[in-house]
Symmetry: C2
Subunit: 336 residues, 2 copies
DNA sequence: CGATTATGTGAAAGCGGTTTCACATAATCG
DNA sequence: CGATTATGTGAAACCGCTTTCACATAATCG
């Protein structure tokens, strides 16, 4: 009795229970239009009754679709120290799951075009891939040729027609800079991020344009280069303090550098925001817990992930979606 | 000519090229011992020459093994705001990939035992699952019955014989507290984490034992409860400042609360570390960027992930590995 | 109203591996 | 040296689902 209790049912069982052929079961389960309503009902009832769940491997083998989307993260870009990517990934994963897709995580060094990741991606093990601000284009270009659906989070710097999602870096930087002027600052410096990255450049552009709009022209002296690290922010600020006489505002291209800047300012015996106002970018946990709490540009990171997933799903449906730019919001705290 | 250039080769092709049967190809590719060296060589050559890569779905269907390990994260425990999990996941992913396994990420609310995650896990879509400090045991217990290989990161509080990896919370807290005494403190308080969690309790135990070892007995007044948030750390510290006369040391059970405590101390017009010394736990980015830089207990988070993956792989090989406790290291900075 | 076109369905052939089973040959034994 | 056990191999069934193809029936047309 009840011999095969914990054996998962197959089409054979469903079709028998519903009184239809296996082909029809497949049609119903894949949303084929041309099935009589009665049979659809019969199949659905049988599925519900037996608690049927499609066998993914079998389905993949037969259909060629795996139901897997890779999220590819370059080991090198220590994106890991940043809660950012976790949140993005979370957003991606949620949306994919809602669409009955699974998230395959690939953390690897992408330098070599022939690593295991490259093989998986090319070998048809996934239906699509979402990349995290990848600078090494070689692999991506190969995959484009193979017509693997892809989404890139972060604007790719080669102006190819990749599908991508990104924060409005320009707009965010513009608003941050503007805010400093609005607070009465007259000499506003910027501590840039890595200028090699698109995001870094866009933020600088936003700063420049906001500066010009204010009627002034930013002198070269006001632009200090950083690399997103605490140390670089601190060093950049020290340079600025030396070289710029009456500096009263700084826009740092991320929160970590902003904290570095604040450290430098206080070590120089000056006070934030009384003497120098500081704005960061990211609105990370750091911004909330620092003293003084940091005014910072917030990006909706979860939304970024969701947008990436949605662009992927659109491509899977055969559409060719437009890139997606998400707007930012300035969160005003005590530092500016 | 060269019609089938970009079609992936199958066993049919390999076996023809190597001059053996498909069965033998399978044997070689799965490391079966009983194959003549000559044929092994022949197959390997053919594989290399044709750039063969196993078709995962086909392999899964036939063998019943998917090559997929789920990493399950409860949406609720906003572990996401914490870079912690990203690093753990990264470690897991790396080790799994080295062992030809893939990482399936599942971020979901695990409240309902019948969500999509539960179905995937039970439906044989993965070969094993790694959970992140899950408090809801219902699902896990079901999966244990189904003999799905599992690893839990973080000590599960039901003392079942789960396979788990964890940081030495007790030891870390012990060392932190000890350090404060060594620095000359005599009234050392603790700001606890969520006492409901095993980690929270273990850290409290470590504190208590270190206290007793020092020859004193910790009064109830010295124990302030927090919940790992900045606000709770600040509030707890304010309470301590009011109630404990000559407080000179605080061990906060994570860095975020430590920063909250420092904020409270400074608002009260006192100085860290001169008046009160503070030690945190996690050695997160926050510890490095705060002022004063925070002395904190470091856990090797990447190693935690790697350990979890290795325990999973051991189970897949049929072994029943022992739980794994990773030791901590006290990183001494300026706050204590 | 017979001829076409739509519509709905099932049989059967895959998809690309794994594994059982039977069998041939080589090694070991009494 | 014949009988037994080990070792190595290929044929073929099978894993569970998808999809083509042929066919029957119903709807539409001239």
């Amino acid at each position: 009795m009840a011999a095969k209790s914990n054996v998962r049912p197959t089409y054979a069982v469903i079709s028998k229970t519903a009184g239809v052929s296996e082909a029809t079961v497949s049609r119903v389960l894949n949303g084929d239009e041309n099935v009589h309503p009665d049979r659809i009902k019969a199949v659905q009832d049988a599925v519900a009754k037996l608690g049927y769940k499609k066998h993914r491997a079998a389905s993949s083998l037969a259909s060629g679709r795996t139901g897997l989307i890779a999220v590819v993260i370059d080991d090198d870009l220590s994106i890991f120290s940043d809660p950012f990517w976790a949140t993005v990934t979370s957003g991606i994963s949620r949306v994919l799951m809602e669409n009955d897709l699974q998230t395959l995580l690939m953390v690897a060094n992408l330098d070599s075009i022939d690593g295991p990741v490259a093989h998986s991606l090319q070998g048809g093990e996934v239906d699509g891939a979402i990349f995290f601000q990848l600078h090494k284009d070689a692999l991506i270009k190969r995959l484009v040729k193979q017509k693997l659906p892809m989404v890139i989070t972060g604007t790719p710097h080669t102006s190819n027609d990749f599908v991508f999602v990104d924060t409005d870096n320009f707009g965010g930087a513009h608003e941050a800079t503007n805010h400093l002027f609005g607070r009465g600052c007259t000499n506003v410096a910027i501590i840039t991020g890595d200028i090699e990255t698109t995001a870094g450049r866009q933020r600088l552009d936003g700063y420049n344009q906001a500066y010009r709009k204010s009627g002034h022209v930013p002198s070269k002296q006001l632009i200090a280069e950083g690399d997103y690290s605490f140390e670089s922010g601190k060093a950049a600020m020290q340079r600025l303090l030396e070289q710029v006489a009456n500096l009263d505002g700084v826009f740092a291209c991320n929160d970590v550098m902003a904290l570095g800047a604040i450290a430098a300012i206080e070590e120089a015996g000056r006070v934030v925001p009384d003497h120098i106002k500081v704005v960061g970018f990211d609105d990370s946990l750091l911004a909330q817990t620092s003293r003084p709490p940091l005014t910072s540009v917030r990006q909706d990171i979860g939304a970024l992930g969701e947008a990436a997933a949605n662009l992927m799903i659109a491509q899977l449906r055969g559409e060719t979606p437009e890139p997606c730019i998400l707007s930012t919001e300035l969160v005003i705290r005590e530092s500016a």
